[in-house]
Assembly symmetry: C2
Homo-oligomer: 233 residues x 2
DNA sequence: GCAATAATATGAGATATCTCATACTTTTGA
DNA sequence: TCAAAAGTATGAGATATCTCATATTATTGC
């Protein structure tokens, strides 16, 4: 069981040239049919900083330019679930834009993260009337809903062995798998103990080889087979 | 493990007066900013009929007027997951409208079901440019994504005991719980054997009383407590 | 109305996963 | 630089859940 610790406020807002540089480098004009540039703030969050605190409504719609983040929810029994990862070109805060009543999940950056931030109070109405924006957001949300439905049904239908094989193949850098165990536990929803147990199994089956704190993928084929059964068709 | 059986084609399309009657009774003009009435077909599906067959792209966007349905997906290991229930005022086929590539889930009516059906080939482009429609759909999808995320994280964080208590309270008719066990297994993602085991526990704890094929809720309070821990804050 | 099918029911043994205790190592903050 | 915190590691026992076998009862199609 893990507890989420709140860090102090370190977010930076880029001004002037720094801001201008980002607006030029990442034009998102094509995502809107009205001029948003003047409303945009550019925010930078450090690694492990909370972009949104769980249970606290954000004041901005974010669009991630650089970096990665994680969506967390804390359950009443103290268990923490890592619901999903957020990557470049993802939205943050869209749920709160759309829904008056919504339990806000915590969002924590896992690398330095730079986002465009659109203040709700200045453009909520306009956003909700903007075809281009809504069409983009609709696609984004349909992807999320599909992804969550897949994760849900897979988590119930398959043991960790299969889901972990898939996760290893998806996150490995070349032949090296080196995700933090504690993060993976929260994401796959299993105990630390059990995760290590299945990793040890993979090693003794010769699929992986432990090298210090990393794992080398020695035999990808059996891992692919284990992961393959998750896919539909 | 259950297998989905395909039934023969029994769908009815309402014409003339029958059609007109539905168009009048259920105006959905407010969901679109262009005139859709002339494009609308009114479809009726019998109980247990497949509205969409798994793996087969539909030709319509549906909007459910009367009835209920279930979304199923079949995994490679033969397990079947009941991903969600569909109710009145829900959309069907919106994933296929938005995404060129998408694995279509099976949708089966669980009661007689009447829907409006908008043929993709006649209005896809218009729909994707319609603010009113997109805003509605965005809210619908954000709700779905949130709901699936909640189900996912709950399924990993809590044993059946808690999730079943919640399900019983949500589906009970007055004090009587009478869902089909086989459906509930698919929905909560547990084996038939285990479901009966936990139900028997509830009975021996005096929360439920078995009456023939139904269960009477004798003590709602402890069930509420079990269900309560699923909720955030 | 009957045969086939689906749903309910229960036992027994297997296994996937969790909890707790404890120890060691690495990273981090002041 | 050093103490605290976070991450890694492993054992042992508990429990949540699954599989399989088998029997009974209800529903359905023809």
């Amino acid at each position: 069981m893990r507890y989420l610790i709140l860090l102090r406020w370190m977010m930076k807002i880029y001004k002037d040239e720094a801001r201008r540089r980002y607006l030029e480098a990442y034009s998102i004009a094509h995502l809107f049919s009205f001029p948003v540039e003047e409303l945009i703030e550019v925010h930078e969050y450090e690694r492990d900083e909370w972009i949104i605190q769980e249970g606290t409504r954000p004041d901005f719609l974010f669009y991630v330019l650089e970096g990665k983040a994680k969506i967390y929810v804390t359950h009443q029994n103290g268990k923490v679930s890592l619901i999903n990862f957020i990557n470049e070109n993802d939205y943050i805060g869209e749920m709160e834009l759309l829904n008056e009543v919504y339990y806000t999940k915590g969002i924590q950056s896992s690398t330095k993260t730079v986002c465009f931030a659109l203040p709700f109070y200045r453009c909520r109405t306009q956003l909700l009337e903007d075809v281009t924006f809504l069409r983009e957001l609709t696609k984004f949300l349909s992807g999320k809903a599909t992804q969550m439905a897949a994760k849900y049904s897979q988590s119930l239908a398959f043991p960790l062995e299969n889901r972990l094989a898939d996760f290893i193949l998806q996150t490995a850098d070349q032949e090296i798998y080196k995700e933090k165990h504690v993060t993976v536990c929260d994401f796959l929803g299993v105990s630390y103990r059990h995760l290590l147990h299945v990793l040890a199994q993979f090693c003794s089956s010769g699929f992986l080889k432990k090298e210090g704190r990393h794992y080398r993928i020695v035999q990808p084929e059996p891992l692919y087979e284990l992961a393959e059964v998750l896919k539909n068709r």
